[in-house]
């Protein structure tokens, strides 16, 4: 039976590894569309990690908003700007850069291990334990209750942030003067 209990642990390492690999692919691919697709995969695996932590709502939102919406925007921008693989310089390291990168990475690992060292034993207790959340009506329910009571202000401020983003994106994409904005697509539309 010990083997069965090891499976969740194994799943975590598997998923974490997949996240790391796909993240690396995102930043090292020379084709921007390849990067975008690996980003989708990456976000999907992160969602799987959330799901593994019983954060069902966060997992669903991760896929819905990040993988299903934000990367769509990235893909559109890639197509809009028509980025070609040739137009981008591939990543080539000199020996010095590679050493610096390696040292930095090792440093991060050490700092991360230091920070993470006092690992609490077992699962969290109290009102946020898995059992208590199930008791209170499930992950989504508890999250919603908290958001609309304890975290009311952040929620309302989120709406203002979204408003600002709406205004900003309309400003960025605002129409240019018709004289300068002659586009062959528009001319071909015939309307």
């Amino acid at each position: 039976m010990d083997a069965l209990y090891a499976i969740p642990q194994l799943m975590f390492y598997l998923l974490a590894g997949l996240v790391a690999i796909s993240s690396l692919m995102v930043v090292t691919s020379r084709n921007p569309v390849t990067s975008a697709i690996f980003l989708v995969l990456d976000l999907f695996f992160v969602a799987a990690l959330y799901a593994k932590l019983d954060a069902h709502f966060t997992a669903a939102i991760q896929v819905l908003v990040y993988a299903g919406a934000i990367v769509v925007l990235f893909v559109f921008v890639i197509m809009l700007l028509n980025l070609k693989p040739d137009a981008l310089r591939g990543i080539r390291f000199s020996v010095g850069e590679a050493v610096v990168l390696l040292v930095t990475l090792i440093g991060f690992v050490i700092i991360g291990a230091e920070l993470a060292s006092p690992v609490p034993e077992g699962l969290p207790a109290g009102p946020l334990s898995v059992a208590a959340i199930e008791e209170a009506g499930g992950n989504t329910h508890v999250l919603a209750m908290r958001m609309f009571t304890s975290f009311l202000w952040p929620f309302e401020i989120a709406s203002i942030l979204i408003l600002l983003a709406i205004v900003a994106c309309v400003m960025v994409a605002r129409k240019e003067k018709p004289e300068s904005g002659k586009h062959n697509l528009k001319a071909g539309a015939g309307r």
Partner: protein, 117 residues
């Protein structure tokens, strides 16, 4: 049983099925290379311009607005789930939230950002 085990299995099944379908003709179909056949389809005439034309900025704008309203919808789902427990308080909170976004929506419409011409 963890509810995500079936999800994983179905996901793998879907990917494998899609790949098999995608590859079927490669194994069963004939392969006769003719230079002209490999041209991009352009209703029979030789290719005039390549497919690299830049696309309208409207698509990009649509995608951004989609993200923003998508996030809004997600927040509303959370509220709808706990509507009965939150009562009037929740309704007022969400009314304020929606009102602020309606301002943004009206701005978008007024600026003509949703006009496709």
């Amino acid at each position: 049983m963890n509810p995500y085990i079936p999800v994983l299995v179905v996901l793998i099944f879907g990917v494998v099925l899609g790949s098999i379908l995608s590859g079927l003709a490669y194994f069963f179909g004939p392969k006769k290379y003719v230079r002209e056949k490999m041209d991009p389809y352009e209703c029979g005439v030789p290719k005039v311009t390549s497919a690299d034309e830049k696309m309208s900025v409207k698509f990009y704008l649509t995608a951004i607005l989609f993200i923003l309203f998508d996030i809004e919808t997600v927040f509303l789902y959370l509220w709808a789930k706990t509507f009965d427990q939150l009562g009037w308080l929740g309704l007022v909170e969400v009314a304020v939230f929606v009102l602020i976004l309606v301002v943004g929506y009206v701005y978008v419409v007024r600026r003509g950002a949703l006009e496709w011409d």
